[in-house]
């Protein structure tokens, strides 16, 4: 009899006590599905993958899936990932971080991992807020927005995570939303293939906290917002600076060939 069921099921840890910690309507599950589909169609086995995460909502992802998994410290996933990759270059390393995790507390590790170009596929699930701690402002929270730590509105400018990654030297940079699942699939495939440091920013919805300041109360509304506010890289080129403001530019933003750290190091050993 043919086996039925969702392809994700064979990668879930059956001994893990579900349910997961994510709120109803959270976008992280959509990303997790996309990631597992990409791993499933990749030429590697599940023993080849190491999933490393930091601290936060999205960083809880690795515990639910049956790979080598490491739930590390806040902002430092890339440092552990670097050690694992260099100690065993055969392994495929995937890191999963949030926006606060990757570019606030982990900002220094992030730019140096990009500069060093260690072969790591880094996924940043950007929900523009600190969800787990109760909806505080993150470096990806837009200007003017009220959060629990910016009760009078955010007076700081937000980071463009992809431009940061590109400037720091990442080999591959892409952005998608969880609404654009086909694009997300493609970007994850490319990031896993890339022989260098790759970054995919995944715009996701935090219905519980971020939805409030957008005036959107449901996951459907927030995903509609993602759809309506996104423009492709090609389309964005046609827009003026003013027209591009507030838009999410999605697609491949950088794809370059640079020697990676362990290839360079291997030359020293010879």
């Amino acid at each position: 009899m043919a086996e039925t069921g969702h392809p994700i099921h064979k990668y879930l840890r059956s001994s893990k006590k579900f349910p997961h910690i994510w709120c109803a309507g959270c976008g992280i599950g959509i990303f997790m599905n996309a990631l597992i589909r990409a791993i499933d169609r990749s030429p590697y086995t599940r023993d080849d993958f190491v999933l490393v995460s930091g601290i936060g909502c999205s960083s809880r992802l690795p515990v639910y899936v049956d790979f080598n998994t490491l739930h590390s410290t806040h902002g430092r996933a890339l440092t552990f990932a670097t050690g694992i990759k260099l100690a065993n270059p055969r392994l495929k390393i995937i890191t999963i971080m949030g926006d606060g995790d990757a570019v606030s507390i982990g900002g220094n590790h992030f730019i140096h991992a990009a500069r060093r170009n260690v072969e790591i596929a880094a996924f940043i699930v950007n929900n523009q807020i600190y969800g787990m701690t109760g909806g505080q402002c993150s470096p990806a929270t837009p200007y003017g927005v009220k959060t629990t730590s910016t009760p009078y509105g955010n007076i700081e400018q937000d980071f463009d995570i992809c431009r940061l990654a590109e400037a720091a030297g990442a080999s591959f940079v892409g952005r998608s939303t969880v609404y654009h699942t086909r694009l997300l699939d493609k970007l994850i495939d490319r990031a896993i293939e890339k022989k260098g440091f790759s970054v995919v920013e995944v715009i996701s919805q935090c219905v519980t906290y971020a939805g409030r300041w957008l005036g959107l109360s449901s996951a459907v509304d927030m995903m509609k917002w993602q759809k309506e506010n996104s423009v492709t890289v090609d389309k964005a080129k046609e827009l003026s600076e003013e027209e591009r403001k507030g838009k999410i530019v999605i697609g491949i933003l950088a794809d370059v060939e640079r020697p990676n750290y362990h290839e360079e190091y291997a030359k020293l050993i010879k």
Binding site: D47, T69, F80, T82, L86, A87, N88
Partner: protein, 386 residues
């Protein structure tokens, strides 16, 4: 690369080595094949020599962006199955505390060298101190066990580095080597041992992957550890976890985890009494010292003996877990103790705790960046001798 080969050949000869260089020799002999670090005086020579030597033995060196990242990479490499270490000094050691706790609860073997320099904050970068004794014990948050070794000579720095790796692998715990700048930068003659020097490796699973329960106590308190990529897929987290490694808040799972972390080391306290003693049998006053201070103390004790004073010395090689048994035994013989330290009194507090007021504990504290001299210790001996 040529330099590397010449250096490796030289291991069969008597060598004049700096303390930091002896540490690297010990680490490589113990099987260390991964080093991640960040430059800091007075520990930098360890990093520089690792950068030179590791490629020649098939190991990996990386200079990270800071000390937090360094220990993160070291833990990552160890999870991938490679013996790993880092070295730093006070300010970097402060940054590493976060990941010392992580290595402790996830039970990842790793070795951290802290070459102690004087003063809080930037302090005196090129001068000796023993100010990090309590930070090494309690620096990271939460209750955790730790093993801390303290060499007093170049040769001991070599030996204790080998042993640091052995203990780290045996108990699956971070091991810290606390060494003062004077020992790290001293140059002394040393003969490196040849052949089998007794290298220990972490216990590995022998069951098939589907039977592997990563944090189940096999009876020794130390669960077998598989390397990422070996087919034993499991979860590692800094959260309190159950025997499968999954996060838990159940008191009946969290309690036993923390208890086991402590007991896996405390059950072996008898084996962890590492000290040298000198002339303690008939001593009326015993000096308790460690690091470079123990060497000044030995000279002072010899001079005191020449004067007819019955003074002994116990040199501690393990600072944590504190050697209660050893100190208690000394106290049974000797009514008075003197603890000279290059800090405001850190190990002396523990000595007093063991004494419980039944023994007189005198201290000699100095933290101005200069070493404690034999004369200073001798004067103190004369002052407090019964």
């Amino acid at each position: 690369m040529k330099k590397t080969r010449t250096a490796t050949k030289a291991t069969t000869r008597r060598l004049l080595l700096q303390g930091n260089e002896a540490c690297v020799r010990g680490a490589l002999m113990a099987g260390c094949r991964f080093y991640a670090g960040y430059p800091i005086t007075p520990a930098t020579e360890i990093m520089e020599m690792m950068a030179r030597e590791l490629p020649g033995v098939g190991g990996t060196f990386i200079q990270m962006e800071d000390e937090i990242a360094s220990l993160g990479a070291v833990i990552g490499a160890s999870l991938a199955g490679v013996k790993s270490m880092t070295a730093t000094s006070g300010p970097g050691f402060s940054l590493m505390q976060e990941h010392i706790g992580f290595a402790s609860i996830t039970e990842v073997p790793c070795v951290i060298v802290d070459v102690m320099r004087a003063g809080p904050s930037t302090g005196l970068p090129t001068q000796a101190s023993q100010g990090d004794v309590m930070q090494a014990r309690w620096g990271t948050h939460g209750d955790h066990p730790i093993i801390v070794l303290a060499p007093s000579s170049v040769h001991e720095f070599f030996i204790l580095t080998v042993q640091a790796f052995n203990l780290s692998e045996r108990y699956r715990t971070p091991v810290i080597i606390l060494v003062d700048e004077a020992v790290a930068h001293a140059r002394e003659s040393i003969i490196l041992p040849e052949g089998n020097i007794g290298i220990e490796d972490r216990p590995r699973p022998t069951v098939p992957p589907e039977w592997y329960i990563p944090y189940a106590d096999p009876g020794t308190g130390v669960p077998p550890m598989s390397a990422f990529g070996d087919g034993y897929r499991y979860h590692v987290t800094g959260l309190c976890h159950d025997v499968r490694g999954y996060p838990t808040t159940r008191p009946d799972e969290v309690g036993p985890l923390i208890q086991r972390l402590f007991s896996k080391i405390s059950k072996d306290l008898d084996r962890l009494q590492w000290f040298d003693s000198f002339a303690t049998d008939d001593a009326q006053l015993t000096v308790i010292a460690y690091g470079s201070v123990a060497r000044a103390a030995l000279r002072a004790v010899k001079q005191a003996r020449e004067q007819g004073l019955k003074v002994g010395l116990v040199k501690l090689k393990i600072l944590w877990p504190f050697m209660r048994q050893t100190i208690a035994a000394v106290m049974e013989n000797t009514p008075r103790l003197l603890v000279p330290e290059m800090n405001m009194g850190q190990i002396s507090r523990e000595v007093k705790r063991v004494g419980r007021g039944n023994c007189e504990v005198f201290t000699l504290n100095k933290c101005d960046g200069t070493l404690i001299s034999p004369q200073e210790i001798l004067r103190k001996i004369e002052e407090v001798y019964p």
